[in-house]
């Protein structure tokens, strides 16, 4: 049984989200032991802005850390790093940089997480209705059952689809020990609007591709991200079949007796999607 001590870790990757992160940090209204930002900018453009977050005392956060990386590691790799960096944590709350918590949301997420029967808590349903990954809690039980995120999906997109497919497949194969999701259906800020606003996901979320990033225009960033998305969709079909989010195939990549958490790091595939920073 987990103790009600407060949130052990909030982790967030960012490429260009200085102003969004300020809003995110300011919205924390519940005790948090560690708030870790992984700086994926890779060009030193937001180093100072992020370092400033660590200099001010926060009424709710014990420790704000920023890890400046020399390049963009990508979303799944950073999500895994959040877990590996706080390896003894009973759970990890992972969020995007363009989120802001509404009053009481963190408390609610923490309290639901304390329920021993729940494995993952998603702040909203997500567009594929299996729980959103813009703001979610993942417990140690899930890592034990289906492993870490698939880093072949770096730099971004479809890492959530892969994980949702794995959750589904695991639960089918282990009905008594399946992964139990709690979907809050909460209202929180994602970009400029609330998550419950129907225009939120199509028009306001994914601020990384909607914002200029120093020497990279939003149009250029959008192109890079779409390229990654296209490749990753194909990968996902190979891994879980055409209807991965409805009926994921029995074994990843169709190889019999390969465990659900196995991935072969494919450097050539990841390189095709490299953002050049």
């Amino acid at each position: 049984m987990m103790k009600n001590k407060g949130i052990p870790v909030i982790g967030v990757p960012t490429i260009n989200g200085g102003k969004w992160l300020k809003r995110l940090i300011n919205s924390v209204d519940y005790p948090v032991d560690n708030f870790i930002i992984f700086n994926n900018n890779g060009r030193g453009l937001i180093t100072e802005v992020l370092d400033n977050f660590t200099k001010k005392k926060h009424p709710w956060i014990k420790n704000i850390e920023v890890c400046h990386l020399p390049s963009n590691l990508g979303v799944p790799t950073v999500w895994n790093l959040i877990i590996k960096s706080y390896i003894n944590s009973p759970y990890w709350l992972i969020t995007q940089d363009d989120i802001a918590f509404t009053p009481g949301l963190l408390k609610k997420m923490h309290e639901i997480t304390l329920n021993g029967d729940i494995d993952m808590v998603h702040a909203s349903n997500g567009w594929f209705s299996r729980g959103s990954y813009d703001l979610f809690v993942i417990k140690e039980s899930v890592i034990r059952k289906i492993g870490l995120f698939d880093e072949n999906l770096s730099p971004a997109y479809c890492e959530d689809h892969d994980y949702a497919s794995r959750c589904l497949r695991y639960t089918w194969d282990n009905p008594k020990d399946g992964i139990k999701h709690y979907i809050l259906g909460a209202s929180y800020y994602h970009g400029r609007v609330l998550s419950t606003d129907p225009t939120c996901y199509p028009d306001h979320a994914s601020q990384t591709k909607r914002s200029d990033s120093g020497d990279i225009s939003s149009e250029e960033m959008l192109k890079k991200i779409n390229n990654s998305n296209d490749y990753n969709k194909q990968y996902l079909i190979k891994k879980w079949g055409n209807e991965c989010l409805q009926y994921p195939q029995k074994y990843p990549m169709g190889v019999e007796n390969i465990p659900i958490d196995y991935t072969k790091y494919d450097i050539d595939f990841i390189r095709k999607k490299h953002f050049k920073f």
């Binding site: 850390e65 003894n88 140690e140 890592i143 958490d261 450097i267």
Partner: protein, 268 residues
């Protein structure tokens, strides 16, 4: 500096303690290096400022020095993998222990050796039993493609090299073992004997007795893991053909066992 030299793209160094060794390492660089990456695994903030001070060293051969301060010790295998992932587009990665120093001409010799694109691994020092030494080694993109990444279950340290040796033994890619110039490990030129290793290697342990005890435990537990993965023959470099004796598993097979990794946590 000659203009026609092809720089070394990246040298990566994980460290837990003993910053003076890295100071020596930086000063020993005598050949163009595009990126020197130091991964601070101390996790307690004890060496952050000492490491940041290294940026003041004026070595004209180093284009960019990057230091990552992680909030905890990620371990050796994860750090080695991160060096590769963070410089993903590079053709090869030079990885070394913090207590290594380059002898004059060694880095140039490494740069020349990497021109052979069929080579998967380069070990400046041939190591014990000619298996290649992992205090300083070079893994090429061919190495990553054919052999895979390092097994992060072997956290926090020890046996990550032995696991890789088993895979190399099974795959038999082209390797270069033994260069003309050999590096310093600790206070002496690296040698393939136990006495030398005891005297000059394992500097992380020597800084802290308590840590040494925990690392010894990790070494034993990781040895047991290797027996499961490759069979007891791993100690004689006679591993099973497939990891965990499963014909479906490729040589690069790795999954990550949270509880196993946690069982070896060093407290930081």
């Amino acid at each position: 500096m000659e203009n026609n030299l092809i720089p070394i793209p990246i040298i990566g160094v994980p460290i837990v303690n003993g910053v003076h060794w890295v100071d020596r390492l930086i000063k020993s660089i005598d050949y163009p290096v595009d990126n020197l990456l130091i991964i601070n695994n101390n996790g307690k903030g004890e060496i952050d400022s000492q490491l940041d001070d290294l940026k003041k060293i004026d070595n004209k051969f180093i284009k960019k020095l990057h230091i990552i301060h992680f909030p905890s010790n990620l371990g050796v295998a994860s750090s080695w993998n991160l060096i590769i992932k963070l410089y993903l587009m590079k053709p090869y990665w030079v990885i070394c222990s913090h207590d290594v120093a380059f002898t004059p001409g060694l880095l140039e010799e490494i740069a020349i050796a990497t021109l052979d694109k069929e080579v998967a691994m380069i070990h400046p020092h041939e190591g014990q039993f000619n298996l290649g030494s992992y205090d300083l080694f070079i893994i090429t993109e061919k190495g990553v493609k054919d052999v895979g990444l390092f097994d992060e279950n072997l956290y926090p340290a020890y046996a990550e090299d032995s696991d890789f040796i088993m895979r190399l033994n099974n795959i038999q890619p082209k390797m270069i073992k033994g260069l003309k110039n050999i590096h310093l490990h600790g206070d002496e030129i690296a040698k393939a004997d136990d006495e030398h290793y005891k005297k000059n290697g394992m500097q992380t342990k020597k800084e802290n007795e308590e840590l040494a005890m925990l690392l010894n435990q990790s070494n034993e537990i990781n040895g047991e893991y290797l027996s499961k993965k490759w069979g007891d023959g791993w100690r004689m470099v006679q591993p099973h053909w497939n990891p965990f004796c499963n014909a479906e598993y490729p040589q690069s097979y790795i999954t990550w066992d949270l509880d196993f990794v946690r069982s070896k946590y060093l407290g930081f």
